[in-house]
Symmetry: C2
Subunit: 360 residues, 2 copies
Amino acid sequence: MSDARQSSRRAGVVGLGLIGGSVGLALRERGWFVIGADISPAVAADALELGVVDEISDPARADITVVATPVGAIAATVKEMLDAGAPLVTDVGSVKAPVVAQIADPRFVAGHPMAGSEHSGVRGARADLFHGAVWVLTPSEQSSDETYAAVRAVVADLGAEVITIDPAAHDQLVAVVSHVPHLAAVTLMALADTQSSRHRALLRLAAGGFRDMTRIAAGEPSIWLDICRENAAAIAGVLDHLIADLGAIRAQVAADDRAALLGTLERARVARVNLPTGVPLDQPLAELRVVVPDQPGELAKVTRLATDIDVNIYDIEIAHSFEGQGGTLILIVPEAKSERLVGALMAHGYNPSTRPLEQS
Amino acid sequence: MSDARQSSRRAGVVGLGLIGGSVGLALRERGWFVIGADISPAVAADALELGVVDEISDPARADITVVATPVGAIAATVKEMLDAGAPLVTDVGSVKAPVVAQIADPRFVAGHPMAGSEHSGVRGARADLFHGAVWVLTPSEQSSDETYAAVRAVVADLGAEVITIDPAAHDQLVAVVSHVPHLAAVTLMALADTQSSRHRALLRLAAGGFRDMTRIAAGEPSIWLDICRENAAAIAGVLDHLIADLGAIRAQVAADDRAALLGTLERARVARVNLPTGVPLDQPLAELRVVVPDQPGELAKVTRLATDIDVNIYDIEIAHSFEGQGGTLILIVPEAKSERLVGALMAHGYNPSTRPLEQS
C-alpha cells in the first residue's frame, strides 16, 4: 500500500459501477494508485473491499480523473472535477454530444468504451473488460492535444483500440449499433413474455438464437432511461428506420416475394460475416510524421480524418517543436494503409512523410 | 462396419444438412446403423466421408426414417417414404401445420428440434447438437400412440427434452421465439450495413451486444425463404405486434416517458432472467399411471395436456392391457408437479395414480 501511494501515477474514478469499477481494476493492475468516489457509501465500501480502488477520497486530486457516473450526471460531475482543479478529465458515457456541448475546457476529452456486460454494478467489474474493445474518444475543439494524447495513452494501455470521431457522429452511430438494438432486444423479450401468458410452453421453445438476441435485455434498466433521454433524437430516427424496414420485410413475407427476401437475407449474411473483429496484431506497421500548426484540436482533427478513411491508429506521439512553429505528430498505422492516410492528409494541406517500421 | 450392419437398429436420414447430418452423427454414436440420402450427390459423398452416415441407399428401409429436407420439400418426402413402406417416419422442419395437414398416416409424427447454429450444411453437423435442446413433437389425430412413443424414445435418447404440442400452436410459438427474431436480426444487420456506407467507423463500434443479436443473421439465407412461405400468416402477425411495440417504445423515447420505458425494460429484464434453461437433472421424480381407452391419439392428448400445464415429462412407457380395454400409460414427471398433472387428468375424466420414484 505505501509503495502504491508513492507511485507517480494516480487516477480518480467517480462512479463505481460496472464500467468505473472495471477501469479501477484495470488501472490498479497496471500499477496506478486509484482513488474512488461514489454517491452511494455502500457501493464505495464494496469497491474498497473488492480491491477496485485503493482508497475512497477526492478523485480530482489525481493525474487523470475518469467520470463513470450515470449518463445524466456526467456533465455536472465533469465540471465539478475541473472546478476542483483536476488536470485531466475524461468520461465513459454512452452519449457524447450533450456532454461535449456543456464543457469548454482544454483539460477534458470525452470518451466511450464500447464494452459492457449483462452483469451490472461494481460486483460485475472485470480488469479485462476493455481488452480488445473499441474505446471511442470524441475530443471537442476546446480539448488540448496534450489532453487528447494523454487520455488516449491511458485508454490504449487498458488494451482498447482507440477510435476518434465527432461527438454527434458517435451518438448517431451508437444509436444504430447499441441503443436501438438494445431496445429491440427488450421489445422482443417483452413480446415473447406477453405471448407466453397465452401458451406456457412458449419460452421453453426459446433456443440459442433467441437467447443470444435477448441476452442484453437482462441488463440494468435504469441506465437506459438516461441514454434514451440524452440520445432521444438519434434513437427515434433509427427506430423509424427499423420499423420501416420491418414493415418492408413483413410485406415481402406476406407477398412471398422470395427475390426481395433473399436479397435482404444475403446482404445481412455478408455484412455479419464481414463484421470487423479487432485488429490483427502482427501486421507490418509504418510511422507517419506530420508537422501541424500550433493550434488546439489539430491532433483530434488528424485522428478523426484517419477514422473517416478507415485507417486505424496504433500509437501517437507528439514531438513539439521548440522553434515556435507548431509540432510534429508521429502516428503508427498499418503499413498497407499508410499511403491512404498520406493522401488524405495531403488533400487537407498537410505535408506528411512515412517510413516502414522495423518488425520487432 | 459388419457389426453395425448386423445391429438391430437402422435409421434412415433424408437430407444431410446441418440438422440431418447431426441426427446421423448422434444416432451412429448411439450404435445405430444410419442410411443417408441427399438430393445432391456431392453432399451425400461428403456425409459418407465425414462419418455422418454408414451408407447412402434407401432411407425408407429402416426402423425409423427422419426427413430433414428443406421445409418446402418435407410433405412430399414424407409421403414418398411412407409409400415406400417406411414403418415409422418423423421430420425436423421448422413449420408444422402445413406438413401435418397433408399427411394422414398412423406411421408419421411430425417434429422440430429447437437447435441450430450459425454454421450450415453437413460440415457444420455435430453429434451433440440436440443435447439439452428442446425437441417439439406435434402428433396429429392420425398418428398412432406406438409411433409417437417410438419417435419420442429416439429423440429423448439424443439428449433432447421432448415437448408435445398442437401443430398450429407450434407454428405460432416459433414465429415468436425463432422466425421473427431471425428476421429482426437480419433487419438490424442490414440497417447497420446501410448506415455504415455513410460512416465507415460504424461497424467497428459494434460491441458484444450487437454481435450477439446479429449472430444468427450469418446463417444460410435459403432455408428462411421456405420458412417464411410456409409460416407466412403467423410471421406476419407477430411482425405486426413487434412493429407496434417498437412504435410504442419510439413514442416513449420521444416523449421521455420514463415510467413507461422503465416498465418495459424491467418486464423484459425479469422475463430474460427467468428464461427457462433446461431441466434440473437431480430433482425427485414420480411415476404416474393412467389407464387410457384404446383410441388413436390418446398418448398425444395426455402429453399435450402436460405441456399446457407446464409439467415436463421425462419418460413414457405404454403398457398395453391384454384384456381388450385399452392400455396403461406410465409417465415419469417431477415429483413436485405430479399432483398438478393428476388434477388436470382427473378434470379430463381420467383416473390416474402416482407414486414417488426411488432415487437411484
